[in-house]
Symmetry: C2
């Protein structure tokens, strides 16, 4: 038993649960910070722990290219390599590979692509993606899928989904045969990583339903909804999530990949989503875009030059307790490396705190939509 998922309370469609993974118990709904190349950019691991993060995401494509999954395996796996001892989810590499556009070629067997680092030729198949993720030693690995582009007509979405479903079967078969090869040491007896399936199907509800049903037949310990946040209008994202969720098992974790803004992650969690990840809080922070209880602000703005208040008067994070907007604006204006550190710490604190409040409300069985302290952005 490598994943146990228990739902404590439900409120509307929202679920308050706990997911027990080999490296951590994760309270859900959860937002997972992205640590692309074995680092949540600019944040030391002990501060990430202080923020309360229990699970982070690593990117298979990036880690495969540099420093290489076999090196990470030799170093004892990703947890030990980066000294992050809580849970890690890795994506399949598919999304990143498909983002390469001109540099890739898809066949039944897999994807041929060129590295964004040096142009070198590489090949990812479902089997190879599983090997890489097992070598990394993630708690949750993702099936290798084709992320259908947006827009895509029905025939294209159909064809892409069929490939994804064949790859899901290959992913699962290979993963189950090799998951014992994870690099964890003897402190995890009998524990193995978990493989989640990914629902694709473009923006077509019948394809999404079919994808969900076919994956459920394959019996994964958790399911993701992929292929969203790829350029479609937000109403469509919500609609596809709402249409897909009923076809996923109620007793297993449900993960929407690559979302979103603070009000989005609250909304999706209210709809019954248990897990989400996004580069937004960390990437935006490095550009000076700050999320607060009063909405978004760009800390580079001149109007903050003499603002002695904190980024967010409602926030209890270490940045808001200590530094002024004036100082943080100065750090951005002076291109000081500390700007990225402090802005990221705040944005992650805001996201994680948003989820904590949401979990508290779900636990109390309170209707979430009304009385939410989160204003629209």
């Amino acid at each position: 038993m490598s994943l146990s998922f228990q739902i404590h309370t439900t409120s509307g469609k929202g679920r308050r649960g706990t997911m027990i993974l080999p490296h951590a118990a994760v309270e859900t709904p959860v937002f997972m910070p992205v640590g692309t190349v074995a680092s949540v950019k600019a944040v030391p691991q002990h501060l990430l722990e202080e923020l309360g993060a229990r699970i982070i995401l690593g990117n298979t494509y990036h880690l495969y290219l540099r420093p290489g999954h076999e090196l990470i395996r030799r170093m004892g796996g990703l947890h030990r390599f980066m000294s992050w001892h809580r849970a890690i989810l890795t994506d399949s590499g598919g999304f990143q590979v498909f983002s390469l556009n001109e540099l890739r070629k898809v066949t039944e067997d897999g994807v041929q692509f060129r590295s964004h680092l040096d142009g070198g030729a590489h090949f990812f198949s479902p089997e190879h993606s599983m090997d890489v993720q097992i070598a990394l030693g993630s708690d949750i690995a993702m099936a290798f899928d084709e992320c259908t582009e947006y827009p895509a007509d029905y025939a294209r979405a159909r064809k892409s989904l069929d490939l994804t479903l064949r790859w899901a079967e290959r992913s699962k078969r290979h993963f189950d045969a090799h998951k014992q090869e994870r690099p964890w040491d003897e402190s995890f007896p009998g524990q193995t990583p978990n493989l989640f399936g990914i629902v694709q199907g473009g923006m077509y509800k019948d394809l999404r339903r079919e994808a969900a049903e076919r994956l459920v037949e394959m019996d994964f310990p958790g399911y993701a909804i992929g292929g969203l946040s790829v350029g479609e209008p937000r109403e469509l994202t919500r609609e596809i999530i709402a249409e897909t969720l009923p076809y996923l098992p109620k007793d297993k974790p449900r993960y929407v990949m690559g979302v979103g803004y603070p009000d989005e992650i609250v909304e999706y969690a209210e709809m019954g989503v248990d897990m989400m990840d996004c580069v937004l809080p960390t990437r935006a922070a490095r550009h000076g875009l700050i999320f607060t209880s009063e909405g978004r602000l760009n800390i580079k703005n001149r109007r903050f030059a003499e603002d002695q208040g904190p980024l967010d008067p409602e926030c209890g994070c270490m940045v808001c307790q200590r530094y002024s907007r004036a100082y943080l604006r100065h750090l951005m204006a002076s291109q000081e490396p500390l700007a990225a550190v402090l802005n990221t710490l705040h944005n992650l604190a805001f996201y994680l705190d948003t989820m904590q409040k949401l979990r508290d409300r779900l636990e109390a069985g309170q209707p979430v939509a009304s009385g939410s302290p989160l204003p629209p952005l």
Copy 2:
């Protein structure tokens, strides 16, 4: 009384003391990390506190240009602006202005220069440098001096020194008349900043002696030896320090500006220097140059790719306790912002720990030179 300096023990020529400044008691000999534009690059203030730093340096030239000293005054001074509540020393701006080379013009009155940021025209006089430093609210301000270039012939060094001495008088007169205008709040009743004089004189011992004697007549609360580490051979640096120190009062703090490597700072402290500062540990860290008890290493080197050991097996810092050389090399290779944070934390820990061990040995009256755990670099 804004500065009290007490020497507890001496060992050879080395002195173990405590300097009480308005914002902190500083144990000497001390190494001061450099926080050029209101940030010790890449290090959050609470981690700088955890490292044990009691005093840091701010650069007057940079802060004057951005965000501007009057803005910092309105924000309550540099301590409050950057939320660093221990001591701050500011340089006079002279060294930076003289580094501008083509962009400056020196007259009896002061220095005309162009900003390295936007080419805008500015003028620094001794009086203006004092105004800026008082507005910043530093615990220790430095007299405005001309940093004599190296090499400089005797006539040039003589002329430059005469200017520096006239500027020292003007600095002191203006500083004493205005030091009450520091931006500190009512928690520092009766406390004012301190102005240190700076000994120049190029590489000429008689000029150095004359400079020291003339400054001592002016009666500063502390004295710096400037114009070193400007390209001269290291033996000459040591010689000038050794020749100058005897002409500075034994009961006042003695500061050598802009040094140095770990073995240098130990050596100078053994010679009777109480204070030093240098960008070396922080700047080198950002380029992957790491100081350890076993010497220097470049963490970017391929030979560390699978090295599971810490940067320094003798070091107890938070970086050495948690991360491997393999991981830190990966962060540098991937140009991750965390590399600068962790490398800087280690290098500063190494410098501050080096000084702590030195203070312990001085306190114990142990001969420092023998049995030193610091191998030559």
